[in-house]
């Protein structure tokens, strides 16, 4: 059965879990060295890396994302102008030699704003994804490992969170708490943790019954050690995929927030915020340089991240259904 968990649309939770379990098993078998064969043992990590490399789309996407990250980091060096420099004499000018992507309603250089906007999107995307994944993993491990009523409570909480229309509540919370990058990151993380929690919990439940965990327990390892070594190792692969896809979601969420005027405040450049200007028909109709670049930037980045996530999932998945 396939189960999705709402916000990050590309995630196939149960399949990821099954794939991870299977690759874990395959890894164990791989370690069983046989003298009569000629194939050398390969660690599951190396196999995954090799398979990822074969996925050309994912590779190109990875390069693209790295490129964007570098540009964002080096923004002050790369941007042709100060993104907040207002110049009321050249408002909404089309692309020219001085401003490769034209200027916006306050005369600011669009290209520079795009470059600085990358900072916001990437920061929010990565930070929110990592926080959500972190919280989710912790609670998932707890739920899966302790079972009993603690597990039930956590799962009911997960259900409640997943029922809530996250966008609306996020909007509400950001409105109440004020739109700073940190608030946005925390609020997004607050609503995205259930996804990774479910996955980690499923993995934990499945793996703890696995033979090698039982063997470790029979050998006297304490619960904590078991959890750390065996289960965390099994959880890493689906978690990587989920975190990647979560960051795609987070970037989209932040863009939506800014577009609605409830995200990162002006004058700070943000891709979604720049699209806010396209609300007016005049802009939409006659000034494509104001809204096409930020839209394409978001789309390209998210697309690339999703391809990477797909590539990662294929890399970790020994089944050949795709």
């Amino acid at each position: 059965m396939i189960r999705d968990n709402g916000a990050p649309k590309g995630i196939d939770a149960e399949a990821i879990v099954e794939a991870a379990i299977a690759s874990g098993e395959a890894a164990i078998e791989d370690l069983d060295i046989d003298d009569s064969t000629m194939s050398p043992p390969r660690s599951p990590f190396k196999i995954a890396v090799r398979r990822f490399m074969k996925h050309r789309l994912a590779l190109i996407s990875l390069i693209f994302v790295i490129f964007i990250v570098v540009v964002a980091l080096l923004a002050p060096l790369v941007a042709p102008a100060d993104p907040n420099a207002v110049d009321l004499s050249s408002i909404r000018k089309p692309p020219s030699g001085a401003h490769w992507l034209g200027t916006d309603s306050a005369g600011r250089d669009v290209l520079s704003r795009i470059i600085y906007g990358a900072r916001v999107s990437l920061t929010v995307g990565i930070a929110a994804a990592l926080s959500a994944a972190g919280l989710g993993t912790f609670l998932g491990l707890v739920a899966g490992f302790t079972k009993g009523w603690v597990d039930m409570v956590i799962m009911r909480v997960v259900d409640i969170f997943l029922s809530f229309p996250s966008l609306i509540v996020i909007l509400l919370l950001v409105a109440i708490l004020g739109p700073s990058v940190i608030t946005i990151v925390l609020v997004i993380a607050f609503f995205e943790w259930p996804t990774s929690c479910r996955i980690v919990r499923q993995m934990t439940l499945a793996l703890r019954e696995h033979d090698y965990v039982l063997a470790a327990r029979a050998g006297g390892s304490s619960n904590f050690r078991i959890m750390r070594r065996h289960i965390l190792a099994g959880v890493v692969s689906p978690l990587t995929v989920v975190t990647t896809l979560l960051s795609a979601s987070a970037i989209l969420l932040e863009a939506a927030l800014s577009f609605l005027g409830l995200g990162v405040r002006q004058p700070q450049a943000s891709w979604g915020g720049m699209l806010n200007e396209a609300q007016s028909i005049t802009v939409l109709e006659g000034m494509p340089w104001l809204w096409l670049p930020p839209g394409i930037a978001i789309a390209a980045t998210v697309l690339a991240i999703n391809f990477i996530g797909d590539g990662l999932r294929d890399a970790f998945d020994p089944r050949q259904t795709r």
Binding site: I2, S163, I168, L172
Partner: protein, 318 residues
């Protein structure tokens, strides 16, 4: 089967209470006096003694759990509070907005299913052909390009450039309220909504069918001599729909989020726009009412999905 459904309802109850509790907590997180959120304008501006009595009824100076119960009571009475902004009961404001949202989201989902599922099936049956790759790229674009950007582009192409369709609103002002007029306004927003929803539907349908086709019972059917198409239709299709009901149900929050944005971009007079307006004007009662209603709707649709899955899969009915 009945026992199963009753069990699902029973499990849903604590979740429902949880939703209500969370909403209640949100009410109290808001800056300002909760009474202004919960009482009607007449009550607030009327007789001070009456006001005191109402405040006591709501237990506003008593411990939170008591307030919670009182608040639940108000809910059951149909009192969703009054709008700060417009000074009218929230129920009055919500009323006319419900239908437009239902029409929009309903059409969006239907279109997404009508196109998405067949495309997914075709992609699975033509695995690794150009069609399959094209549908894969399409799905990726569907989930990667932000909803509002897709909306803006749609407006640009169909409304501004081609001039075929109106760029917003539900009706043409001053024109008679014909269905044709409604449809003309509905196509673009519903179309964009369905484009956004379709991506996951195509992917999951395809994946589900591929998974089912690899199962043992499909080999058995082939070994019996069932022709290929017969195998797909009789032994794979229904089986692959079962996980899809879950996907659909769980996608409901995403559907709602998409609807909110689409309503905003296309100035569609539904609950989504109401919420955004509410947020911009800090009209908490309105926001909370919408939040609560949507959460309950999600719960309801999850239940529907469970029931559908039980109908499709006899193993679940125990």
């Amino acid at each position: 089967m009945l026992a199963y459904l009753i069990r699902r309802v029973l499990i849903a109850i604590p979740v429902l209470l949880g939703i209500l509790a969370m909403t209640f907590i949100l009410v109290h997180m808001l800056p300002g006096d909760p009474a202004t959120v919960m009482l009607t304008p007449e009550e607030l501006q009327g007789n001070p003694e009456f006001l005191e009595m109402r405040r006591a009824e709501l237990g506003l100076d008593r411990p939170l759990p008591v307030q919670y119960v009182a608040w639940l009571g108000e809910l059951l009475d149909g009192n969703l509070g009054q709008s700060f902004h417009r000074k009218v009961p929230v129920t009055e404001m919500l009323g006319p907005r419900v239908m437009p949202t239902v029409i929009l989201s309903g059409s969006g989902v239907l279109m997404a299913l009508l196109f998405g599922v067949p495309i997914g099936i075709a992609a699975a049956l033509r695995q690794n052909t150009k069609f399959d790759y094209a549908s894969g790229v399409g799905s990726m674009l569907s989930i990667s390009v932000p909803t509002f950007f897709q909306g803006l582009m749609a407006i640009y192409v169909f409304s501004i450039w081609l001039g075929w369709l109106p760029s917003g609103g539900m009706r043409t002002l001053g024109s008679p309220e014909t269905t044709f007029d409604l449809v003309k306004h509905l196509i673009l927003p519903a179309g964009v909504l369905s484009a956004v929803l379709m991506g996951p539907y195509v992917r999951y349908t395809r994946q589900s069918l591929l998974d089912v086709l690899r199962l043992d019972h499909v080999t058995t059917a082939r070994a019996k001599g069932v022709p290929h198409m017969g195998v797909v239709v009789k032994h794979a299709f229904r089986n692959s729909l079962i996980p899809l009901t879950t996907v659909l149900a769980v996608q409901i929050p995403a559907l709602l989020a998409g609807t909110v944005i689409i309503e905003f971009v296309f100035t569609w007079p539904g609950m989504g726009r109401l919420v955004i307006e509410g947020i911009n004007t800090r009209d908490y009662p309105v926001i909370l009412a919408v939040v609560m209603i949507t959460a309950v709707l999600v719960l309801f649709f999850n239940f529907v999905a469970d029931a559908t899955a039980a109908i499709l899969d006899p193993r679940i009915r125990i």
